[in-house]
Subunit: 224 residues, 2 copies
C-alpha cells in the first residue's frame, strides 16, 4: 500500500483491511507522522505491516507479501497540497498551501512506460509539470470543474483552492495547464458536484475535447 | 449517533459520514477518550458534532439535528468487554476482560416496549441478565458459534474469549445462558466464520430451535 497523503479519504481505508493481512505500507514522512499520532492505526500489527518512509526521487520495486517482485516500480514526487482537514485549527482559518511533502504523486512503471498518479494537487509549478510530461498515462486530480462550484450548489462553503485542489476550468486550471501532457489523460478523485460526471453535460464535452477521460469503477489501464 | 464501544468496527464509520453533517455523538467516557486520543476524529467539526458522555442508567431522549424529538429514548448499561485491539500492547498478550465501561449495551424504547442492543459482550453477570430480561426484543452478540472456530478454520489464532465475545454454543454459551429471555431474540455482529450464517447449516437449526433469528441486511424491527 502506497499512501499519497494523510487526508481521511486517503488513509481511512487502512482500517477496513482484513486483520492480520501482511503488506508493506509506504508513505511520505509527514504521513507516517499522522499514522503515528493516531493510535487507531496500531490495528495494523507492525509485525505484519512494516511502515517505510518514501522519499521523493526514490525508486521502489514493489513485491507481494511473500517478497515476490511484482515487476512494478514506484517513485514518489512532491506535489503542492494542504495539511489534513483534521489537523487544521478548530476555527477553520485557511492553513494555506503546504509544500512540506504531505502530498505526493506516484510514478508507476512496468516494462518501460510510466503512469503518473496524482489524486490531489493544489498547483502546478514548472518542475512538477516537467515530471508529469514523462508519463504515458496521467491520472490527475479532477475534484472540481469550477473553483466555487460547491458554494454555487449550496453544499459547502469551501472553494477548491481552500481544499488544496486545482480546478479544471479557467486560464490557470488543469485543462489549460496540462494541455498536451501525456498520451492518455484521465480524471480521478472527482467530487460529486463536478458536472463532468454527467456523460451529457457541456462540461463533460469540454474535458473530452481537451483529450481527457473521466475514470469509472472497474476501469482497466494497459501501458504499452 | 450512539457508540457502544471504541473498537475499529464501532468507530471507523464516523470517518465515512458526510463532512459538515450535524448530529450529536453519545459515548461512554472511555470511548470519548479514544476519540480524543485520535485526532483524525477532529474531522467531525465540534461546532456541528457535540460529544456527550453517556453514563450507565442515564435516559436520553433522542432528537434530530434540528432538535426535534424523535420519540425514542436510549439508556446505556455496562457490559463486560475488552480494550480496543489498537490499544493493546504490541506484543499481543491478552489484556484480559475490561469492565471499565468501554463497552456498553443500549436499551431503546419507543411507546412502552424496549429493545436491547448488545453487539459485543464478554460475559453475562446476573445483573446484566436481569437488565436484558426487561427487553421485548434483544439484539445480541452472535460473533462466533464455537469459541475456537477461527482457529479450527485456520483463519486466525484467537478465541472468541480473547476477542471479548461470548460464544453461542456450550453450557456457558449465549444460547444456554439467555434461554427464554425476551420475546424476540436476534443475533447480530455475526463473524464470517460463524456457520449460523448458512441457512441450511446444523448450527442455524440449533439457534432457530432455541428461538433465535439471525439478523440480515435491511431487517425491520417493529416494537408492540
Amino acid at each position: 500500500v502506497v499512501l499519497t497523503g494523510g487526508e481521511v479519504d486517503t488513509i481511512a481505508g487502512l482500517l477496513s483491511l482484513r486483520e492480520s493481512h501482511a503488506f508493506t505500507l509506504y508513505a511520505a514522512p509527514p504521513v507516517l507522522g499522522v499514522l503515528r499520532d493516531n493510535p487507531i492505526f496500531n490495528v495494523l500489527n507492525p509485525a505484519l505491516v512494516p511502515r517505510r518512509a518514501m522519499m521523493p526521487g526514490e525508486r521502489v520495486a514493489l513485491s507481494d507479501a511473500a517478497g515476490e517482485p511484482l515487476g512494478l516500480t514506484v517513485e514518489a514526487f512532491a506535489v503542492p497540497g494542504k495539511v489534513p482537514l483534521f489537523n487544521e485549527a478548530p476555527e477553520g482559518d485557511d492553513p494555506g498551501r503546504s509544500d512540506e511533502g504531505e502530498t505526493i504523486g506516484l510514478a508507476l512503471s512496468a516494462g518501460g512506460a510510466e503512469l503518473a498518479f496524482v489524486p490531489g494537487c493544489a498547483a502546478l509549478p514548472p518542475a512538477l509539470k516537467q515530471r508529469l510530461a514523462r508519463a504515458h498515462t496521467l491520472l490527475f486530480d479532477g475534484t472540481l470543474f469550477r473553483d466555487d462550484e460547491m458554494i454555487r450548489a449550496g453544499v459547502g462553503r469551501k472553494t477548491g483552492a481552500r481544499m488544496g485542489h486545482m480546478s479544471l476550468d479557467g486560464p490557470a486550471g488543469t485543462l489549460a495547464t496540462l494541455d498536451g501532457i501525456a498520451t492518455r489523460r484521465i480524471l480521478i478523485h472527482v467530487n460529486n458536484t463536478n458536472p463532468v460526471l454527467l456523460s451529457d453535460s457541456p462540461e463533460r464535452a469540454v474535458v473530452e475535447r481537451a483529450g481527457w477521460e473521466v475514470a469509472e469503477d472497474g476501469m482497466e489501464i494497459v501501458l504499452p
